[in-house]
Symmetry: C2
Subunit: 250 residues, 2 copies
């Protein structure tokens, strides 16, 4: 999977801090190869290292300085820009894909891709975008769609993490929660104890039925864990005993 992990290219970054931020996002989302076109000097005491987190140990020191020509020549290139063209009358910034669409499309090809980000102030120029193969744009507020360079790269790499970490939660820190929903049989057993409990506190059958139905909806849409259902079942079993009518003749 990681054999095809895209490389990240930053064209003329001006502040070392943004390079560090991008390196950190790369490590957070499983990317390793950083290439810089005409970067500022990046020394171990610069903000680049300060912002890189653990990426200061690998991604950042391994960053390579390259030319824009080499990037165009060696990779399938995707240029990121906040500013798209409105329609197909101009092709420099149109058509474009969103990062999510890009992730879907790259998942189905075997190619070495370069994700190309532009300089802080002005992004990628039209002349640069014309030489790249695809355009990608992060959907943001029409009022202020221009993200900071480091934040744009973070969102893009977040969306493209499936290319490096694998689909869904594979390769992430998150446990697979699919298994965590309690067994339906155990959930139903809880409703039985809850109904038994209600018999002790509410004598009107139609009210009891409505209340069980409410509980079924509440618990149902919360997708309870085994542990939650066990706790609730224990609680209401005990409570049902406590509130049971003492009148033996009943």
């Amino acid at each position: 999977m990681t054999a095809d992990a895209p490389v990240v290219v930053v064209v003329e970054p001006q502040t070392p801090g943004n390079v560090g931020t991008i390196a950190r996002a790369m490590k957070n989302f499983g990317f390793t190869d950083l290439e810089l076109v005409d970067p500022p000097e990046i020394t171990p005491d610069s903000e680049a290292y300060g912002f890189a987190g653990h990426a200061r140990e690998d991604v950042l020191p391994a960053a390579e300085t390259v030319t824009f020509d080499a990037v165009v020549e060696n990779y399938h290139t995707v240029g990121f820009t906040a500013i798209t063209n409105e329609d197909a009358r101009r092709h420099v910034r149109f058509p474009f894909r969103t990062p999510r669409e890009l992730a879907d499309s790259l998942a189905r090809v075997e190619t070495r891709t370069a994700l190309v980000f532009g300089r802080e102030g002005t992004g990628l120029s039209n002349e640069e975008l014309e030489r790249l193969d695809e355009v990608c744009s992060i959907p943001a507020s029409a009022d202020y769609p221009v993200l900071n360079l480091g934040q744009a790269a973070t969102v893009a790499l977040y969306e493209l993490r499936t290319l490096t970490l694998g689909p869904d939660r594979e390769g992430t820190q998150l446990p697979d929660v699919e298994r965590e929903r309690a067994d339906e049989a155990d959930i139903d057993r809880f409703y039985d104890f809850f109904a038994a409990f209600l018999e002790g506190v509410e004598h009107r059958e139609h009210k009891r039925e409505k209340t069980v139905r409410m509980m079924r909806r509440l618990v149902g849409r919360a997708h309870p864990t085994e542990r939650e259902i066990t706790t609730l079942t224990g609680l209401f079993r005990k409570a049902a005993e406590r509130v049971a009518p003492r009148d033996e003749s009943r």
Copy 2:
């Protein structure tokens, strides 16, 4: 829609720069209300303003200082953390939702929600998380899942933008590209001219058929725009005339 836009809460941010980064992400994704628990001093010449972009004009100066108690009391609260519990044996950090799942779930309730982010070094404490209603975690590399505060908020607000901007591309800077695919009739007309062109350069009919099929696949999956098809049609109509056999007896 924006009446229910979540507020963003940052608990004990330590560096003004991160507050500025968060303010910028808020403005980029349509959020307006920033509340800070025990923040550092934020002066107009601090990094907060330097990192805020256009949010220095509204989101950042309007930020309010609040108490954690007030946040718990006034809102449906969602705590963000990179570190979840593994299963339901402990409930402090489990179950959790991903930002995308959270966006889906919040889209269907009418409530004022607070998105709560913790301090840079250690995030939200267990004591704080216990008082919040839901837990949200950004999927990231198992090797290094801890995002920088500003980057975590950026990803979260990006995913939750549908709550403020509306579904899909509504409210974003991106044009609605659905309309942009060329008419099927126009695309088919292009294939006719391409086939006519091939008659002039390839005399073996089975080869021509294969080549038309290849072009249909290539263009088909690229979802051509009207403009692209018009250009291609014009080009191959002209080319077909040029390569047409001159032998009138044919």
